[in-house]
Symmetry: C2
Subunit: 326 residues, 2 copies
DNA sequence: CTGTTAGCGCATTCAG
DNA sequence: CTGAATGCGCTAACAG
């Protein structure tokens, strides 16, 4: 319609070579009138670039992951990338299906909070030079850089806070499966107790399924036990909700009946009466670093392979009013 | 490597024509050994099918939208579709950029909770036969079926509930911009008052920016006013948080100082002391219907164009203990 | 039951 | 400054 070759149109669209202003005008007008829109598909086929990255997490419904996905989207959209979201639901099989899919789709990169299971397919990404960044959780085998929170430190910090308030019987609620996050938090807890020469009582370490009902059962048992702990650390939102539910049922109130530290800050916990002391994770920084890492990797692709180092960020303990000193 | 043509491989991969078991074995072995994975890109180029759908919402960080995206992902993954998420952040410009992108990518379908602004690009979807379903919010001009909540009914129901408890001065907090959801809820509120011959006091209808600080300001003013309302309806989570924050500051307690009905149920509000009365939206059904509608549209594509009707689902008022009778 | 071939819509050489 | 021709990796006729 503009009387030019496809090559010229291509070059105009991509600014890839000088074009006479007049020709350009003609072409642009034709594009307008034809309502022409280049096909990203065809472009991808020739360039081997899809301009799409994927993010794989356990569950979008978890505000922590929602914030991560949101943060990533925010930083990637301005560059013309699209974001494919994948929920694994903590199932290795689903994770595998998705990995296969993403390989087939030739995504340009992947940011993943892996399930615990070993996933050989992850090796394919490295093999095909597809940048891969792990976020929040460390996979069983290393296939790429990990950007996560220093869970050990914050676990220790939370525990030491309670110890300083005079608590001796501190319970901790954590989920199964044993992800790197959980392991870190538990490790910090133990370390803090050990540092202060407090005994480690296994009955105070409650490992439950990552499921509200299961958590509630554990919490109820913990609260009803003859020598109830004087403080509880809930290592994620589900645990927190479970504990609060059990306390509501048994008409127990913090901080008088029991002190409470919860993981993951959000608007609600600050509005509780009294407000809850909580661990705030540096979600924004997590995303920023993950994206930077990914983008750098996407840039140098087949170039020099300088392995990016893992990075562990510090979380913060927001002291409010759910713990009392003994 | 298997000594066959690409056609045979294609047919084996797609089960699109009979193949001798022996040849199939040979091909499959070669696929295995070569670590061959078909290119979704190339396939899309020839078939004009991308097996990807997009969902566009204001903000994943809003649990309501997170739940919607999650619900959609859940129903679409088993069919081998990928989900592209787009956050508009309530900005028409960003929405437009994304629409353009999705058109370029040739997605197979789109589920969208539109910003309020008119968006001519939406017309392109119909024009290119790309199925389009609106969820939660009704766009200014109709470009496709709308699956939403009957906001008018639930707005009226919430208000009538308070009227039945004897409240006469009922305030309502709603966001700007004026989306169909807000309009519906406000409409129901007015209707309820009118039905019961109560005056409509404009000073009790607070319209604020969808931003926590702005909401808090409005809420503070409302609570500090000489003749404070005896009840408040918070028409979404931000409003609820804002009101609770203002109440916390002014040491006001529900239900004694004021009654409170909030929109959007979640685990936290039930754990408040006393637990909050809340409107629960049928998110799962919303997603189910939206997906069904989309899938049917994707199936019959260029076939008979029987326009799908809009659908409005009923929300539910969960009565807890944040309202008292006067 | 299998192979040959054309073409999807672009980017990219190589000529001119 | 522009055009012709090739190929990216598939699917779908069509032939055999």
């Amino acid at each position: 319609m503009a009387g030019v070759s496809t090559a010229t149109v291509s070059h105009i669209l991509n600014n890839s070579r000088p074009v006479l202003p007049k020709t350009r005008q003609r072409v642009l007008r034709a594009i307008e009138r034809l309502n022409y829109r280049p096909s990203a598909i065809a472009r991808s086929l020739t360039t081997n670039i899809t301009r799409s990255v994927a993010v794989m997490v356990a569950d979008l419904t978890n505000p922590f992951f929602a914030a991560i996905v949101r943060g990533i989207e925010d930083r990637i959209e301005p560059h013309g990338y699209n974001l494919i979201v994948c929920n694994t639901d903590e199932q290795a099989a689903r994770e595998a299906r998705y990995l296969e899919m993403l390989l087939t789709r030739r995504v340009d990169g992947l940011i993943i909070a892996p399930t615990g299971e070993t996933q050989p397919l992850l090796g394919e990404f490295a093999h095909h030079q597809i940048p891969l960044v792990f976020i929040d959780r460390k996979p069983p085998e290393s296939y790429g850089p990990v950007i996560a929170v220093d869970n050990f430190s914050i676990g220790r910090k939370a525990t030491e806070y309670l110890i300083r308030l005079g608590h001796q019987r501190i319970a901790i609620l954590a989920r199964k499966p044993m992800l790197s996050t959980v392991l870190g938090r538990l490790g910090g807890y133990r370390q803090a107790l050990a540092n202060h020469h407090l005994p480690i009582d296994d009955s105070l370490i409650c490992i439950t399924e990552h499921d509200l009902d299961a958590v509630a059962v554990s919490a109820r048992r913990l609260l009803a036990s003859p020598n109830r702990p004087s403080a509880i650390i809930a290592t994620n939102q589900i645990m927190t909700v479970g504990v609060l539910q059990a306390m509501q049922e048994q008409k127990l109130k913090y901080p008088d009946d029991i002190s409470l530290v919860c993981f993951d800050d959000n608007p609600w916990v600050a509005l509780f009466d009294p407000p809850l002391t909580a661990v705030r994770q540096p979600i924004t920084q997590l995303c920023d670093v993950a994206i930077d890492t990914l983008q750098q990797a996407m840039k140098r692709k087949s170039e020099k392979v300088s392995p990016t180092p893992d990075l562990f960020l510090q979380a913060e303990l927001i002291e409010r009013a759910s713990c009392k000193s003994i």
